[in-house]
Symmetry: C2
Subunit: 380 residues, 2 copies
């Protein structure tokens, strides 16, 4: 009977329209019926990605999309820049290493955002040898948002392509694939798109297709040339995750009805409410200079067991937030406000945080966090 | 208002318990709650695969599992045998080519099964150089079943591993991963397992793990060493397709309640009914010597437009069967009887086939196909 409240940076809660669509009888994928669905999905993704490029649908989690974003454009021995500002930025170099790519890693302190000037300097020093720049829109492990627009300005002047891991953030905060000169944008289903995990998405610009021509990394399942060949006849090269694609259309229908601008501003409001609440509770933001509007990382106060805090909220009271990953285990907690989240989900989460902090002996006036959030929402 | 009847060799119809589970609110994957689900899924898959080896769950379609079954055990330049008896057997060599594997392709005429002696001869001639034998349990494109047990006897005596594409067939016809000496077995969710597409499964024997040690094919998303590391702590390396894994447990619960033996014999009965009906209608089986019990391929009679037959059944009457693929386009149709299919689904399919054949001018006595199938079921 315990009720669950999900406030994690992926998966995010499913709208009832999505849940319902997932329960429908399955249909076959090589039919006019599914082709119409796929056409709508391709169009919907272009809307969400803010692009006129193709956006491919992969049956994979986001990491499969990241791999596709390397192996389709590079050859062993190629040099690229990867920005490592946390656990997900780190993954770019791991994939690169697996495929013999020479990654010039810009290591950024956890909780900070990369400085576009650092990318510019390496691109200049590389004298045209750098094939691509791999970045992360929202580094889920730290809650940091990257200034993709500024990086786009830097990269567009060079021969390198700009690749953005937007698994976390796309559809919740602004990312203009075309407007910001992003050549390849990767996303996944279980975050801003309000679906279960199991779909990866990847958009490809003409500049990136040109680079793809000379790519020699071996590939099959994630070969985007095969995906493109199928795309032009509104198909997929392998059996698609039919049910999730149908649900994707339901999610995008909701997003279109709301409009991207309103969605982005709502995420900003939720994030402000959470930031405001944690400050009033005397807690410190982990990324005060570069926080994102989809997940807020907060330092665990001295004397409090951070892992126990997250565990108690979840196992005793049904409120799931995320703890710290890797080096930040126990040192931060991450309160997500992404996707299908309403004002009173945020209030519930803060209330539970207050409850457990009090139980653990942390001193503050009960209700003040909630009141601070309420104030933000009231002004909205 | 048109009702759909799905009789294709994947996806197959979903049981209501599976549909319902797919519509539930999503939960987070790094929780004790999901860990219990994953534990049950891993156990359930070992039951269905009839193995004591690990069975990994991939967020991918079956083709992703096929790729994993090559790149985790081989290095560029390695020599393997691939059996190509249709569109799916062909895929092994395509993947091999993408990764620089030297594939000795045993080309089998469409509609026939490979002779295990042919595999034995090449293994002998290879003098220990052949690293693996890649086969297909049920070649969906032709409806042919392969004698995996006999091939297992041949391969087990050598240093090569036996890899079986059991995407089509597993859980519907017998395949004993351990009992038949299959080192690697690949499957997918949308066939015998009665789920939407989006999950790949792969089991790995100790002999295959030994070969994996020296594998030099590049890999990341499909790296089974990463999967194994996660598996031992009941986890997955990347975000799993949470909803599909939950549904997997529902499907396996149904399968356990029925028992594999009963499921296999039911598939045999359905297949007999279909074979019996098409014979009575004067149609010819495409694979009279090697038919499977999950999908029956039937030759389109002279003077009948095979593509139109399938299209009319589907678009006019809502009954979806499959047409021929590649070189068999228009020449055969494929009537599937796999997964969550009942006696009267078969009757419906045959009745619709009779109707459209009559409309297209093919001569036979209406109702005789249905009667032949009824006779088989009555005897059951």
């Amino acid at each position: 009977m315990k009720k669950n409240y999900l406030l994690t940076p992926g998966p995010t809660p499913l709208p009832p329209e999505v849940c319902e669509s997932l329960s429908r009888p399955i249909i076959h994928h090589r039919t006019p019926q599914f082709q119409a669905i796929l056409k709508e999905a391709y169009e919907g993704l272009r809307y969400v990605f803010q692009t006129s490029n193709e956006v491919f649908i992969l049956a994979s989690s986001g990491t499969g999309g990241l791999e596709a974003a390397m192996i389709n454009f590079l050859s062993p021995g190629d040099t690229v820049i990867t920005v490592d500002a946390g656990k997900f930025g780190e993954r770019w170099a791991e994939i690169g290493k697996a495929y013999g790519i020479n990654c010039e890693v810009i290591k950024v302190e956890w909780g900070k955002a990369v400085n576009p000037k650092d990318i510019e300097a390496i691109l200049k020093a590389g004298k045209g040898k750098i094939k691509a720049v791999y970045t992360t829109l929202c580094e889920t492990s730290t809650g940091v948002a990257t200034d993709i627009k500024a990086i786009g300005e830097v990269v567009k002047a060079t021969e390198a392509i700009l690749v953005v891991d937007a698994v976390s953030g796309l559809g919740a905060i602004d990312l203009q694939a075309d407007g910001w000169n992003c050549d390849v944008v990767v996303s996944g289903s279980q975050k801003g798109l309000m679906l279960p995990p199991g779909l990866g998405f990847i958009s490809v610009s003409p500049k990136a297709w040109k680079l793809a021509e000379s790519s020699k990394c071996p590939k099959y399942y994630f070969d985007l040339k095969a995906a493109k060949k199928a795309y032009v006849s509104t198909d997929t090269p392998w059996t698609p995750a039919i049910g999730l694609v149908i649900a994707l259309n339901e999610a995008i229908k909701l997003m279109r009805a709301e409009g991207l601008e309103k969605i982005f501003s709502w995420h900003n409001k939720m994030a402000e409410a959470v930031r405001s609440a944690v400050k009033v509770l005397g807690l410190e933001l982990f990324a005060p200079d570069a926080y994102s509007d989809v997940v807020t990382a907060v330092k665990v106060p001295a004397g409090i067991d951070g892992e126990k805090l997250v565990k108690t909220m979840r196992d005793s009271y049904g409120v799931t937030i995320a703890g710290g990953q890797s080096e930040m285990k126990g040192k931060i907690f991450r309160f997500a406000h992404m996707g299908y989240i309403g004002e009173f989900d945020i209030i519930s989460g803060i209330s539970c945080l207050e409850k457990v902090l009090q139980q653990m002996g942390y001193k503050f006036e009960l209700g003040t966090g909630v009141a601070a959030a309420e104030k933000v929402f009231l002004k909205a």
